[in-house]
Amino acid sequence: MKSNRRIWPIHGGLNLPPHKSDSTAQAIVQAPVPPELVLPLHQHIGEEAKPCVEVGAHVRRGQLLAKVTSYVAAPVHASSSGRVSAIEDRPIPHPSGLRARCIVIETDGLDESVPGTGLGDFTAIDPVLLRAELRRQGLVGLGGAAFPSAVKLNRLPHHQVRTLILNGAECEPHISCDDMVMRERAEDIITGARIMMYMLAAEECLVAIETDKPEAIEAIDTAIARAQDSRLELVPVPTVYPEGGEKQLIQVLTGREVPADHLSADVGVVCHNVATAAQVKRTIIDGDALTSRIVTVTGGGVAKPRNLDVRLGTPISWLIAQCGGYTDKAERLIMGGPMMGFTLDDDSAPIVKASNCILVAAHDEVHAGGDAMPCIRCGECARACPVKLLPQQLYWFSCADDHDELQSHHLFDCIECGCCAYVCPSRIPLVQFYRASKSRIWQQEQERERAERARERFEERERRLSEQKLARKQRLARRRAALHEKGNGNKVQEAVERARKRRAAMRDEEPPE
């Protein structure tokens, strides 16, 4: 049912050219299985998974490759069948451009799967078991942050979750994978939503979709009507970037702000991406592990922009080839959108759980940079900031490296959405300054902690040394005192006695003359 719910505005935000239709013209394409799959062990927020297969082992789709032990983590599964050819460092999609440990599978083309273990009627199962299942099957949030879903579906005793929000806002330009999932898998999303509501004991579920996605709205509306569940509500929300940010969307739908240093559950709201909901259905009902995801491949640098259902571990270069290859204009390879995505210097990196979009930007689609002017204090950045920060002041403090002022102006509340940098007439790469300042402050804090530990160690050592010194002194003193007690004279006398006796003995032995 489409709602007449009140919508609250967010502060600032931008109306950006959407560029979504580039990749939504055709239905989701099933990407073929590549000859080689590269599965990084760390595709999620939390602890890195540990390999539990040997090189040379034969694996099937859905088979566990790397397991985890800590709470915030997600295991890795094989995304097709084949032979584990290596466990080694490979380029991964990460802003650092570093290489990391990956399990490499040489696929055999058979694409065999382990048998699914669907749980059937979820309402008959304890939420704890459902959570364990999501965890076991490696499910993470598919919106881009890749936070383990089971953690976010855990209802803590002190939390009263009233509202489950399904985030279908997808506000960043170019990205359309959520749009396409909503269009084509609306039923899965709604079933997933009902599973999640059951797990959280939520009273209502709001599916938020930006109004620039009429097809998705239509599809979800139909699916909700078919589900005949009055707790579900479709809420079309205005199209404004960065409304799809969790805290922003909660503000739009509830008018409430998540207090600083708190979780959304503290205000009775849990927010999940629509694609995550669809995957929850696939995991719980169909018994599938997370081995594929929908990826938008778009931009002026790729011949045929589209959305594909891609096996995790598929090399980006191979995926681009499935989309007609690069055009002559291809200049920047971005994972994510044009506002928050990061560049990859190497297209051999694989698609991972967090890869929602591969944007191959043409040179006329991106800002070359290097044209920054001094800040003219126009304040447009503060108008655009969805968090109501003062980006311009933060910029000055960042230049001055004034950590106290940066923190008192709440630098760490910055979500790095890039609105300030986009509206800046001086074209200052503001977000860059904030990232640099954040890491400098982190570094300084780490150093302070290290110094604190070193100081404690030093003081402890000094204490031990002085104790030892004291003990030695006392021992010496005791020994000296003991000597004094016995008296030095006795010893001399004893020696004299001994000498006298010896002489007497010698005299006795001497023959008489």
């Binding site: 995505g341 689609e365 003219i376 503060a382 102006h409 986009y422 990232r435």
Partner: protein, 345 residues
């Protein structure tokens, strides 16, 4: 395949400093035409002189400071300061007076404080105030508007250029025949002579709200200002609060004693109110930056403008008011930090 590394956001910002400055310059075109219509081509000559001197001073300062010339000369900020100063001085001001003001604005008020973005004071107003205190005679030598009911002398473009370059009128005419007090000046002098506002307004110089011609000039400044608001180049806070506070205090004074206080609308349409509200006070570099801060800043300018006009020594007070409030900006900015998402105020 290897790709270039670059930080997000990747989209090209649609705006630039040069674009902002160009838009402000464009918004001054209607008022420029009106000014030339009423006061002759002097403004255009002054603009040319001011811009030439401004760009030259800017280039020299940039060179001395080791900054790239093309990048900063192309930002139009020096041109804008020069044009605003040209609006502030009377149309027949000798060229060296204008040049002095421009040099002070660019060299002292702008570059010695660190150049674009770093000047605490509005350069155009700093330059103008230097002229106001250094060349009081020239700065009050305004012309009457070229309207039939008012005696005025028409100068051709060539005559205007000759007057400005030489600083002297053609031999046959004296300055007294050419110049005229501005409406604000006339009010101040009249009140000093114990005339009532009603008596003062008998003079043909006065029109419906302000002075004849002058009030039209104010209208065209406002039109340009509205266009800037529409384009989002300036925001409403400063113009609205400046005009509102000026109107408010003028209304209170007017209601207490209409005989010795000019009407609120007279204040609105006279002197530099409109150019001040939309083009001077809104200079982002020297203004407050938060929304609340801008309301305070604008209100302060409005109140100080009235105070100087009513009780100060100068007929108009916008320039002084702007400079005084410029000084308060760091404090205002500190006191008006908005509440951040998820934090208590």
């Amino acid at each position: 395949m290897k790709f270039q590394h670059a930080p997000a956001p990747h989209l090209t910002p649609p705006n630039s400093v040069a674009l902002v400055m160009r838009q402000v310059l464009m918004a001054l075109i209607p008022a420029t035409i009106a000014h030339v219509w009423f006061f002759g081509p002097g403004l255009l000559v002054n603009m040319l002189i001011a811009c030439t001197v401004a760009l030259a001073s800017e280039a020299i300062m940039l060179h001395l400071r080791g900054r790239p010339l093309r990048k900063y000369l192309g930002d139009y900020s020096a041109v804008l300061a020069a044009v605003l100063l040209a609006f502030a001085v009377p149309p027949l001001t000798p060229w060296w007076v204008t040049a002095t003001g421009v040099v002070f604005a660019i060299v002292f008020a702008k570059h010695l404080f660190g150049g674009l973005g770093h000047n605490p004071f509005n350069p155009a107003m700093a330059g103008y105030v230097v002229l106001l205190v250094s060349f009081p005679a020239q700065m009050t030598a305004w012309l009457p508007p070229a309207i039939d009911q008012i005696a005025h002398v028409d100068f051709s473009l060539w005559q205007t250029i000759a007057i400005i370059l030489s600083g002297e009128l053609p031999a046959t005419i004296g300055w007294d025949a050419v110049t005229s007090a501005t409406p604000l000046d006339r009010v101040k002098t009249g009140l000093g002579l114990m005339q009532t506002i009603g008596e003062i307004r008998q003079n043909p110089l006065f029109g419906d709200f302000g002075g004849r011609g002058w009030e039209w000039l104010a209208n065209w400044f406002a039109v340009g200002g509205f266009w800037l608001l529409y384009k989002g180049v300036i925001r409403w806070h400063i113009p609205v609060s400046m005009i509102a506070s000026l109107l408010l205090i003028a209304t209170v004074a007017y209601m207490l004693d209409p005989g010795s206080h000019a009407s609120p609308l007279f204040h609105l349409f006279s002197g530099a109110t409109m150019i001040g509200a939309f083009f001077i006070a809104t200079d982002p570099v020297s203004a407050a930056t938060t929304d609340k801060g801008r309301l305070i800043y604008g209100a302060g300018i409005g109140l100080l403008t009235y105070a100087i006009r009513a009780w100060g020594g100068y007929p108009d007070g916008v320039a002084f008011a702007v400079l005084l409030m410029n000084m308060a900006v760091p404090l205002i900015d500190r006191l008006t930090v908005p509440r951040v998402y998820g934090h208590e105020s």
